[in-house]
């Protein structure tokens, strides 16, 4: 029996420590991981908990991230609660197996610390890896600070393991900006956290040797489409469960999470759409811009997949101009968040909005209140003109001559 970890009502944790404690409290059966910066301390802390007797599960050392996710798939198919952590190149190496996990409907939880993808090599935070996993059939939750990283990791188990969902979940936090920034976190006590997460219920466990099952069957043109459609339906309908879990979490902790978060959007003419730690920077920028008389608000999808497109459009229905900020190299088109936002608005009959795209913070480049204020002012020009007078895609805090695309 695992020892109880003495926790104060308030702890000072960085995002990695917060995620590691959430994994510990969920009493994960198997963690298989190949540590990679900046998520290394998640598994490092977790294995320390295990060595110190605070965890009953197994920690599997493997030779690569591909093997890490493969071991996770094996352990989850065997019938255990499974988690891992990764970043960047490790995430990229896992991608093939991410699709296996979701297709086999294994509710693995992966705490991702977002980091840029090489080349050139970079260990700092951007959303390239999260965007890479976009179509892998996982639920992707986004945390903006250590408290959220802790909360959402606990929620991730509940969401993924719900029998209406049974899909793997990632919880994302920005590399270094969240993962290595110590802040006050109010954790649940071990027994309360475990009570919230609940006992793991295995479905079709391979360790039930009396009833052998085949995982990873081949389905060709006569089967594959039906299976993928079925899997997609589970993902599309998961927001209902996410909402339920968030509501229950609020009852327990008083901390409220929504499918789409917003700040001062109700009376806004101008809106920014962005995800991750920059959202908190943008809150400060919004307050400053409002002092200048610009009616601006913020919107953030709490989930990148499934994308809450109707809820997002609902939040944006009264604004005039929108800027979507993407923290990933767009490589040949507008940023993904721009595309999602534009699609969401069109689908809901709000095609008259003026919407522009900004690329920011690649490879951990600093994005300050002043930078976001500049975006707000530019977007306000669009709102005032009633048409787009700025370039379609701009770059924030990029050295050199102005770079933009139309």
């Amino acid at each position: 029996m695992a020892l109880k970890y003495e926790l104060k009502q308030k702890e000072v944790w960085d995002g990695n420590m917060a995620a590691a404690h959430a994994l510990r409290q969920a009493q994960v059966d198997v963690v298989a991981a190949y540590p990679i910066t900046p998520s290394t301390p998640i598994v490092q802390n977790y294995s320390q908990f295990l060595a110190d007797g605070y965890v009953d599960g197994e920690f599997v050392m493997v030779e690569s991230e591909h093997s890490a996710m493969s071991a996770c798939v094996g352990a989850a198919a065997a019938g255990g609660r499974v988690a891992t952590a990764t970043s960047s190149q490790g995430y990229a190496l896992m991608v093939e197996v991410l699709y296996q996990a979701s297709g086999m409907r294994l509710p693995i939880v992966m705490t991702v610390v977002n980091r840029a993808l090489a080349s050139p090599l970079n260990i700092h935070g951007d959303h390239s890896d999260m965007y890479l996993g976009r179509d892998a059939g996982w639920i992707h939750l986004v945390a903006n600070n250590p408290q959220e990283a802790y909360d959402l990791t606990l929620c991730a188990f509940r969401i993924g393991e719900d029998e209406r969902v049974r899909l793997p979940v990632t919880t994302n936090q920005d590399g270094f900006l969240v993962s290595h920034t110590a802040q006050v976190v109010e954790p649940l006590q071990d027994e309360d956290a475990y009570k919230f997460v609940g006992e793991y219920k295995a479905k079709n466990p391979m360790l039930d040797t009396k009833n052998p099952v085949t995982y990873g069957a081949q389905t060709e043109e006569e089967w594959h489409f039906e299976h993928k459609a079925n899997q997609h339906k589970a993902l599309m309908e998961s927001p209902k469960v996410v909402k339920e879990v968030f509501d229950e979490f609020e009852k327990l902790t008083g901390r409220k999470y929504n499918l789409v978060e917003s700040y001062k959007i109700e009376d806004a003419d101008v809106a920014l759409v962005l995800m991750g730690s920059a959202y908190e920077t943008a809150i400060l920028a919004v307050d400053k811009a409002r002092e200048e008389g610009i009616k601006v608000g913020l919107v953030m999808p709490r989930m990148f997949r499934p994308f809450p497109y109707n809820e997002l459009a609902e939040k944006l229905k009264n604004v005039k101009a929108i800027a979507a900020l993407d923290r990933s190299a767009p490589m040949g088109t507008t940023g993904a968040l721009y595309n999602e936002t534009a699609g969401a608005l069109m689908a809901n009959g709000y095609g008259d909005k003026i919407i522009t795209n900004y690329i920011y913070g690649l490879g951990g480049r600093d994005t300050t209140v002043e930078h976001i204020l500049e975006v707000i002012r530019e977007t306000n020009e669009n709102a005032k003109a009633g048409k787009r007078v700025t370039d379609l895609q701009g770059f924030i805090n990029l050295r050199g001559p102005k770079l933009s695309f139309n």
Partner: protein, 132 residues
């Protein structure tokens, strides 16, 4: 394709996560429709193995090695009165033409060889290599 029509279900009824049970009733070992026994990959075959009874020494290597359980066997008593599996043929409804049986066959002139799918087995036996 190989899947029988009656097995094709709709998107709302497909097996969860494509996880296929071997048994409908594990207690009584009642095979489910998803049991590999009920599947056939014979339509993958472009060449077929032909079995030559004259040369076979009943080592059963092919029977053990066949990934699709194609080899038809009869239970016989050998010279010493012990039970033995005698290979009597190939179930072409199961064989995918992988040629593993040919590879493992140990007789000096192999008692299993691959021939074109369209050739009659009798014709194939006529073409069998002879001892020098």
């Amino acid at each position: 394709m190989a899947t029988p029509k009656e097995m094709l279900t709709t998107w709302d009824e497909v097996q969860f996560g494509a996880v296929l049970p071997a048994f409908e009733d594990p207690e009584h070992k009642k095979r489910s429709k998803f049991h590999s026994y009920n599947y056939t990959v014979a339509d993958w075959r472009v060449e077929k193995p032909v079995f030559n009874r004259e040369l076979c020494i009943d080592c059963d290597f092919c029977w053990v090695s066949c990934p699709d359980s194609c080899f038809l066997v009869e239970e016989v008593l050998n010279k010493r009165g012990k039970k033995q599996a005698k290979i009597v043929g190939i179930n072409y409804n199961l064989c995918k033409g992988c040629a593993v049986c040919v590879e493992v066959c140990p007789t000096p002139i192999k008692s299993l060889l691959m021939f074109p799918e369209y050739m009659d087995n009798e014709e194939a036996l006529k073409q069998w290599p002879k001892k020098d």
